[in-house]
Amino acid sequence: MGKIKVKLFNYKKQNDYKWAMTIDLDRCNGCGACVVGCQAENNVAVVGEEQVEHGRNMQWLRIERYVEGTYPDVKVRFLPMMCQHCDIAPCESVCPVWATYQNPEGLNVQVYNRCIGTRFCGNNCPYSARFFNWYDSKWEKNQENQLNPDVSVREKGVMEKCTMCMQRIRRGKDLAKDEGRPVKDGDIQPACAQTCPTNAITFGDINDPHSKVHDLAHSGRAIRLFEEKGTHPAVLYLKGGSGNVY
């Protein structure tokens, strides 16, 4: 047996970035481009009608919609919902095998090869943003050709969720490192942000005072979902202009 060496992260040194996302609800028009973009980028499985009946659809990113009021004064709101990457995440504390934890860059990590599928985390998530693989992901004949080689295909029995397109973050950091500079604002775009036709989704390093996401987070319009639960999400929603409606 070799000696066991345990070294904790040097947080000061590692914690250069704190990734965050803002979603402008005033811009979101519910078109669903981000939903399909996410599915394409992250090899999210299509489960089929039968499984949807059991509520087992897997889209990491979904658009919630709320209908308020009655005809003719109806208001419908859209709210893109994905893993909120909470700083104090309810899912982390219940995982018996540390398959989910907060990483030094502020993201909520899910480690598939560590997950044993207790589903406690999914149960404890107030945002319903975690999805369980009830079956091995299947693709219709030939469609596996489209799978993104940067993202592992999850197998039966593990939880999965939004990673903020970790593969893109990694690539962005990799390129920045080659050039010997920190990641520039806008270098990294998750699939949803890149595709969003209304530019509602912004991603970046909230620690960087010159980043767009920092500006938007401090614009006075930002709210966090279920703030009262103390989860401190890394996803900030920008409220609509209710004071300025027609």
Binding site: K7, P104, Y112, S152, Q167, K177
Partner: protein, 179 residues
């Protein structure tokens, strides 16, 4: 042994069966998880009997002369047939193995190699970062310049990666390698 003898034959049978299942299960699990490493194809037969000893050892050709992608991308890359012909158009051009390569090259037919070093699908490894940091290829791939037929000299289990990452203060966040 007295205790064992005091048992009825049925109880002995049950106890024996339980013990057998217990042992069998462990053997099963051991083989299930580690079997690929024990019985896996460490040293596959390659389509062309290429010798690393001759190229990298005797002739001292740098690794990255052929594996050019290693310093530029995640994958080290297997050299293209064109790369082989760059030299072997002149060097030993009449050797039967070279003739075979030349024939394939002319037909625009790739040479299909068997993979020796492989990582599971849920692991992401970036050659570029490690090469740029100054690590020698041999650190992971073993003394490759000393063998004719390359076999897997390392099982690349997670402890191997993590140990080195800790020693070098490289990130040990799970998402560094797993997504």
């Amino acid at each position: 042994m007295n205790f064992w003898n005091s048992l009825s034959s049925t109880a002995k049978m049950v106890a024996g069966a339980l013990a057998a299942i217990f042992v069998g299960l462990h053997i099963f699990l051991a083989i299930f998880y580690f079997g690929p490493f024990w019985f896996g194809t460490h040293t596959p037969t390659q389509p062309i009997a290429f010798s690393h000893k001759l190229h990298a050892g005797t002739n001292k050709i740098p690794c990255q002369y052929c594996h050019t992608l290693a310093r530029r991308t995640e994958a080290a890359g297997i050299p293209s047939a064109e790369k082989c012909m760059n030299c072997h158009g002149y060097v030993k051009a009449e050797s039967p193995l070279i003739v075979e390569i030349a024939k394939k090259f002319e037909n625009k037919e790739p040479i299909v190699w068997q993979k020796v070093f492989d990582l599971p699908d849920h692991v992401w490894f970036n050659h570029k970062r490690h090469i740029k940091k100054g690590f020698k290829c041999q650190r992971c791939h073993g003394p490759i310049e000393k063998v004719d037929v390359v076999g897997r000299s390392n099982d690349f289990k997670m402890g191997f990666c993590i140990g080195c990452h800790r020693d070098n203060e490289a990130p040990t966040d799970c998402w560094t390698c797993h997504t």
